[in-house]
Amino acid sequence: MEILQLALFGLVLGGIISLGAIGVSLLFGILRFAHFAHGDLMTVGAYAALALVAVGWPLWAAFPVAVLAGILVALAVDALIYRRLRRTAPVILLISSVGVALILRSLIQIIWGADTQVYDQALQFPLRFWGLRLKLNQLYILLGSVGLVMLVHVFLQYTKLGKAMRAMADNPDLAKLSGINTERVILYTWCLGAGLAVAAGIFLGVDTRLQPTMGWHLLLPVFAATILGGIGKPYGAIVGGMVVGLASELSTVVLPPAYKTAVAFAIMVVMLIVKPSGLFGGGKR
């Protein structure tokens, strides 16, 4: 029963990681660089929601506004910084995104302080069913993640823009040759990636607490999930996120809980050595 309980917590964590990893994976596929500021984009979203909650908004109402705020921040960063560097080497973009990550985190710390904060002070008693425990909040997170992942699926499979996103992640040069407006696709990829990152940030804040470093700390599991699923493959990222979430929680059976992040790191390293193209990678293009 303990294993099932941990698996349930693993799914909650996995959902949050997946939401972040879809964005990182798509952005890598399309812009060819690992977006190190993605975790701090999550933090921005979580705190944007906190700002509204603090003035009396219910969290469900603050959610879409925070998503919008996160998207605007991402688009502004892209327009001010990344766009100018797009024609340079990818490593320069990568390093600039580390800089962006530091800027975002410091801004949050200046505005909201370094202390831990919560959306809701009230203590929640867990629901009990079949001998398992789950807080109502965690149930919302789980349902929210599944719902968003399904929306992303419909978008990627059935809309012209979604298909163009997958096409560009597959083969950016061929996308250009086909007349696909790549700048527009990049723009919408930022919207999608940032929106999902904000959702992940809010969910993380709901599940635990808000801290300026919360997103940065989640970045490693998110990258591990992205690599596990095969970089540039949004569907792989979803599976990768679930695997990393489950593995992290289940590892506490044999390891001290402090090693959860190390488990994600270990998965990433093993994957890079054994099969860098990801779980489903054919590798060949």
Partner: protein, 234 residues
Amino acid sequence: MSLLTVREIHGGYGGEDILKGVSMTVDAGEMVVIVGPNGAGKSTAMKAVFGLARLRAGEVVFDSQKITNFRPDRVVHLGVSYVPQENNVFPSLTVHENLEMGAFILSGDLSARFERIYELFPPLKEKRRQPAGALSGGQRQMVAMGRALMLDPKLLLLDEPTAGLSPRFVELIFDRIREINAQGVSILMVEQNARAALQLAHRGYVLVVGRNRVEDTGAALLANREVAEMFLGG
């Protein structure tokens, strides 16, 4: 008036010039092949038409419009499609989605266009729901050509369409190229399989180190001693 006129183009990819004065024309409905030894600049000459190489001098005119150094996305809109030699499909997208991406700039009902491609390449119809990356080399080439044809282009540029294919598929692809041309699409292609391509084409250009060397009908080039000795293998 030719559909495509390339006049004395010089250029390459930023370094030393690969093209050192290439001229060619393609008439409406014509199939023209560029042959020549390795490093002659055949592919570069074709890429220059599509805006994938930088030209320092000379000009490219398509359909009475000067398109020298136009970006590929502009050239596409004028009715030119290009099939690269490698990486010419979206591997994780299905066959059908690959074709759909070929028609990205169009809107409205595309079913007639899909039908036309599936008639041209019947194996693709069966595999329409499979990812293009899972297909054999020959079928991938069909997807690549199908994607390019979705726009119903006036001119189709093919870069080594039979490279790396098994003999059975080489024959099949050449047969399809003839059919596409018969349907009225002008074709400019680069081909290593020079003998077969020259038999198929109306005219051919022989390039050597970035310059025109010989220009003649396909049949005449096949009979040309100098051309045969140079690279047709005697």
